[in-house]
Symmetry: C2
Subunit: 122 residues, 2 copies
């Protein structure tokens, strides 16, 4: 069901500083076919990333996996007893359809399913 | 410098339970060319993963990036002021040469450099 790691989401207090850090330390990776790092600065304190930062500080926030069909994947995974944060897909970045699964049922890992733009539903 | 995400390391209390969880929920992903999930059960309480579990509970532990030359990457990154947990590469799984970078200088992200087996040093 999982095609590959789509991205790793990293919570940061300042996107500007995080981009500067990644570009100065590693050189900025070009975004291509492969998995990528997604830097997440919260839009406010009372947002999922804002609450994560308050509780845990900066760090890895979630893992996203590419799937061919996010609606079907949600149905299958929900049927296996995993709580779904998003019961239906919503719009993610770059035209993707995304949905989050609850970390409490996945060993503490906030997990995102990503049907990339242009991947047809079957 | 970073070629791609090599893997995401996930700390778990029981490898057996974690494998069961991933295989029953998602179906076990086959390990191929692409990025993979690495499940980490500690060998004891007083190990890096053991201390992580005591402090944070189960969850995402680190991100590993593939590099072509881990010795050269360590030298470059260390020269940019990032503290190195491993000043010299050591043996990782599947014949890789690996080294960890300190999360305090990388926005709370424990970061591993991985020179996969068979990737020649330049």
């Amino acid at each position: 069901m999982l095609l590959r790691i789509d991205h790793v989401g990293i919570a940061c207090r300042s996107l500007e500083e995080a981009i500067e850090r990644y570009s100065s330390v590693f050189g900025l990776a070009t975004s291509g076919e492969s998995s990528y790092v997604q830097l997440l600065e919260p839009l406010g304190d009372d947002t999922p990333v804002g609450r994560f930062l308050a509780r845990r500080g900066e760090g890895i926030h979630h893992v996203g996996y590419a799937v061919a069909d996010v609606v079907s994947a949600l149905e299958t995974i929900g049927g296996r007893g995993v709580r779904l944060i998003d019961r239906r897909p919503r719009h993610g970045s770059m035209g993707a359809s995304i949905a989050f699964l609850h970390p409490a049922d996945l060993g503490g890992v906030l997990t995102e399913l990503v049907q990339p733009r242009g991947v047809r539903e079957t």
